[in-house]
Structure formats: structure tokens, C-alpha cells
């Protein structure tokens, strides 16, 4: 406590010194624990894997309420990240939040691709993995309509799907920090500058693009984050909740997945260099991805301090589509804060629930 009501200044100072001494001792004791414990466990909600296809795994979370909404929710994870970011721990889980509010939740998650999967591209992710997952969700739930959500590149793939399959399964579309206009992805445009970046050489040499290449780019954009994070961790080492949360995010970041080379090549050439998605020139499996074909309700969620996906990069989801039922939420925080973290639980996700509930009956 910062202030002790009624205490004199010397008493308050003495109490503060005692408190700081206690925290310093705790830091040392818990700091030793921190160095010796294993990986932080993640994942709060029970689920069944209901479909597997190579790198793709469709998980169905077990409902928590006696009555659920008619329209199921399918969340597409970004291919470079583990899907447990949506379900880190009790009280910090988007999945838990939505289950408690009566949604039937599915997550299309990814495993590390094998070398044999280096040739997977947008066609596989959109026409195969998302398409087959939706078919499986329909078969399990008996419902034709599905609310499709995606985070970061998972969102971009969901947008591509919605544009390629209009009037079919997608009832609602939710983008969490979803890039559409890549001319505003400044960091990646600088990192993969067409004049200097030889994507063909990278892909042809490596096959799979390791996660640390992507992590390196993020670190370059925010070089102080890692050190500052460790300093803040040390300061808060006495606080078990803080340490647990730090370790969960740290594990998620360290477990950044490799992505198939072909997928990476398409991402760089067609999205970052050509900006083909927002300009309706992207072709998948010989069909043009026309954003104007999307006319379902859209919820576009961005973060105020997102240094990866700026508001301008996601905003065309509202303006370049034909949807008239569109809503825009700009939340406080950074890129990850839209899918995990205490602020999302208190402020953002209740808004998502309010928006989606009305459109899920």
C-alpha cells in the first residue's frame, strides 16, 4: 500500500522500507525458483481434436453452459503461432470467456510443419485447411453457418476464405489485428524490401522458414522490449501472478513456429510487395480474391499501440468490402493484447460478446 491513512510521515516511510525489504527478499527467493522451474503450463479449457491434416489441427472446446448459441465460432490461429494464445490460463483465456458466455468454440491450430510441407501455400491454407475445418464444424454442430474469426495472418486467411466462398458458410467475420492493406505494414516492408531481400533464395535454401527469422524482425522493431521486459520481471518477481503471466507469454513467443517456404514466398511477393489482397488482385487456386464479395457482418479489432499491424493496415476490412453491418473497435495495448491479457478480459471481449451474441442466434 502506498498510503497509510492517519499514519505520520516517518511511520509511512518505515512501513515502505519494510515493504521494500520484504519484496527484495521475495525477489531473491522467487528469482531462484524462476531459474529452476520447467516450462509454464498453458491451456485452461478442455477440448477434443476433431480433425487433423498435417500441420493443421482443429480443436473443439467443450461447452461450459447448458444452452449455447446456434452459430458456432471458428477461430483461425496465425500459421506462425501456437493457438494456445487464445487459451493461456483461467481468467486470461478468450476461449474460456466465450465458452462462459455460451458460444460453441473451435480453434484451427497449427503444428510445426514438416519438411514435406514446405510447399504448402495460400491454396492449402484457404481451400483445404479452413474449408475442411468449416465442413467438420458443420458436420459436428449440424449448423450451416459459422462465425469465422482470425488473429493476425490467421485473420488475413479468414478474410481470403470469406471472399472466395461468399454466400456459403460464413455468417460473421471477426478480425483481430488482421492485416489487409500491406502498404501499412511498415516493419515488414522495410525488412523484406524488394530491392534488397531475395525471398526466392531464402525459400529455396531453407524450405521451411524458421520462427526465429520472424522473431528477429519483431525484435528489430522493438529492440528494447526484451530487456525492458526482463527488468520489469525482476522488479515484479515477488508477484506470482505477474511472473506466471510473463512466463506464459515468453513461452508463446519462444514457440513461434516455422512456416512453409511457399506460404512465406506468397506472403512476401503477393501481399507485402504487390499488396494484392486489398487491391483485389490476389489469386488463390486460379480464383481472384475479391474483397467486395464479402457482405457478412464484420467486426474489426485493432490495438492502439500495435507496431505490427497498424490501424490503417486493418481498416480496409470495413471499407473495401460490401458489408454494411460493420463495427470497428480500437482497443488499448499492443498486438497481443487483443487476444490475451487482463485488459482484453475487462474491456474488449465483453464488446466482442455483445456484438457477436446478437448475430449468433
Amino acid at each position: 500500500m502506498n498510503d497509510i491513512a492517519g499514519a505520520s510521515a516517518p511511520d509511512a516511510l518505515a512501513q515502505r522500507v519494510r515493504e521494500e525489504t520484504r519484496r527484495t527478499l521475495q525477489r531473491n527467493i522467487k528469482g531462484l525458483d524462476f531459474l529452476t522451474v520447467g516450462r509454464q503450463t498453458v491451456g485452461a479449457m478442455a477440448y477434443d481434436t476433431v480433425h487433423r491434416d498435417g500441420t493443421a489441427a482443429l480443436n473443439h472446446y467443450r461447452p461450459l453452459t447448458d444452452e449455447i448459441y446456434r452459430v458456432p465460432l471458428l477461430i483461425v490461429s496465425p500459421p506462425s503461432n501456437r493457438g494456445y494464445i487464445f487459451d493461456l490460463a483461467k481468467g486470461q483465456s478468450f476461449v474460456e470467456f466465450m465458452l462462459e458466455r455460451g458460444y460453441d468454440v473451435f480453434n484451427l491450430d497449427w503444428n510445426e510443419p514438416t519438411r514435406a510441407e514446405a510447399g504448402l501455400g495460400f491454396e492449402d491454407y484457404v481451400d483445404r485447411f479452413i474449408h475442411d475445418s468449416i465442413a467438420r464444424v458443420q458436420a459436428i454442430t449440424g449448423e450451416r453457418e459459422v462465425s469465422l474469426a482470425g488473429y493476425c495472418m490467421g485473420g488475413a486467411l479468414a478474410v481470403m476464405y470469406a471472399a472466395l466462398y461468399p454466400g456459403e458458410a460464413v455468417r460473421n467475420l471477426i478480425g483481430f489485428a488482421t492485416p489487409v492493406d500491406f502498404s501499412h505494414m511498415k516493419l515488414f516492408r522495410a525488412w523484406a524490401d524488394k530491392k534488397h531481400f531475395d525471398v526466392d533464395q531464402l525459400v529455396d535454401t531453407l524450405g521451411l522458414i524458421p520462427g526465429n527469422i520472424m522473431l528477429g524482425a519483431f525484435d528489430l522493431a522493438r529492440p528494447a522490449n526484451r530487456t525492458a521486459g526482463q527488468l520489469q520481471l525482476w522488479t515484479n518477481m515477488w508477484n506470482d501472478d505477474y511472473v506466471r503471466s510473463y512466463r506464459m507469454f515468453d513461452r508463446w513467443s519462444a514457440e513461434t513456429l516455422a512456416v512453409p517456404g511457399e506460404y512465406f514466398r506468397q506472403q512476401v511477393k503477393q501481399l507485402i510487395w504487390d499488396n494484392a489482397l486489398v487491391e483485389n488482385r490476389l489469386e488463390i487456386g486460379g480464383r481472384r480474391v475479391d474483397l467486395k464479395a464479402i457482405d457478412v457482418p464484420i467486426l474489426n479489432i485493432t490495438a492502439q499501440h500495435d507496431h505490427i499491424v497498424a490501424y490503417e493496415a486493418a481498416q480496409p476490412l470495413l471499407t473495401a468490402t460490401s458489408s454494411i453491418d460493420c463495427e470497428d473497435i480500437v482497443s488499448k495495448g499492443g498486438h497481443v493484447s487483443v487476444v490475451a491479457g487482463p485488459q482484453a478480459v475487462k474491456r474488449l471481449w465483453p464488446q466482442v460478446d455483445t456484438w457477436l451474441g446478437r448475430r449468433s442466434v
Partner: protein, 117 residues
């Protein structure tokens, strides 16, 4: 005006300092990444990294062959066969669970929920 003196809190002062330092360094870096030179340096660095890795892999391959140990290619082939076996087991598991659902103890909740006003 009767103003309260700021409370003695070295931790808060330290955290504030770290936060400001982080913001300043990141801002500086943000400006740097927008320059032409940054792209050029990153392009060169990636190229060097790939060439170094390629050369190391080739050298390692030779060493492994000379020691009569499996090369990466052979391990990859093995991994790929293992992945196929895993996929087939998973397909069997899913087919079995679809044929004989085990969740009879968990009745499916009705899909009749309406949002609260």
C-alpha cells in the same frame, strides 16, 4: 492549495524509468527501420546468414557421411514417414470416435441461446 508530497516509492520510480527508456529506444529504432539503409542492411544480413547456413549444412553432411551417421536428408525422410504413420493413427482415432461417440455422458447443449438484453 494543499498538495500532498509524493509518496516514497523507489520501485515505481524505477519502473517509470524503464518504461521511458523502452519507449525512447523503440522510437529511435522505429525511425531507423523506415530508412532505405535499414532494408539494405537487413537484405545483406539475411543473404550472409543463408549462405553461411548453406555452407555449414553442406560441410556437416560430408562429415556425417564420413562418420557413417544419418544425414539430415535421411532424418527428414524418417521424420516424414513418422508423420505419415502419426496421421494414419490420428485418422483411425477420429474415425473410431466418430463411429462410436464416447461423449454420451456429455449431452450436447441446445443451440437456443439468446443474448441478454
Amino acid at each position: 492549495m494543499d498538495r500532498k508530497p509524493p509518496a516514497f516509492d523507489p520501485t515505481a520510480t524505477w519502473q517509470d524509468f524503464v518504461k521511458r527508456w523502452e519507449q525512447e529506444v523503440n522510437e529511435w529504432s522505429g525511425k531507423l527501420t523506415e530508412t532505405e539503409q535499414f532494408g539494405s542492411i537487413m537484405g545483406q544480413a539475411t543473404k550472409v546468414q543463408i549462405l553461411a547456413q548453406k555452407s555449414f549444412n553442406e560441410h556437416m553432411e560430408k562429415v556425417l557421411r564420413s562418420l557413417n551417421l544419418p544425414t539430415r536428408e535421411q532424418v527428414d525422410a524418417l521424420g516424414s514417414r513418422l508423420a505419415d504413420i502419426e496421421a494414419q493413427i490420428e485418422a483411425l482415432r477420429l474415425a473410431l470416435s466418430a463411429a462410436a461417440p464416447t461423449d454420451t455422458a456429455r449431452p450436447k447443449p441446445p443451440r437456443t441461446r439468446k443474448p441478454t438484453a
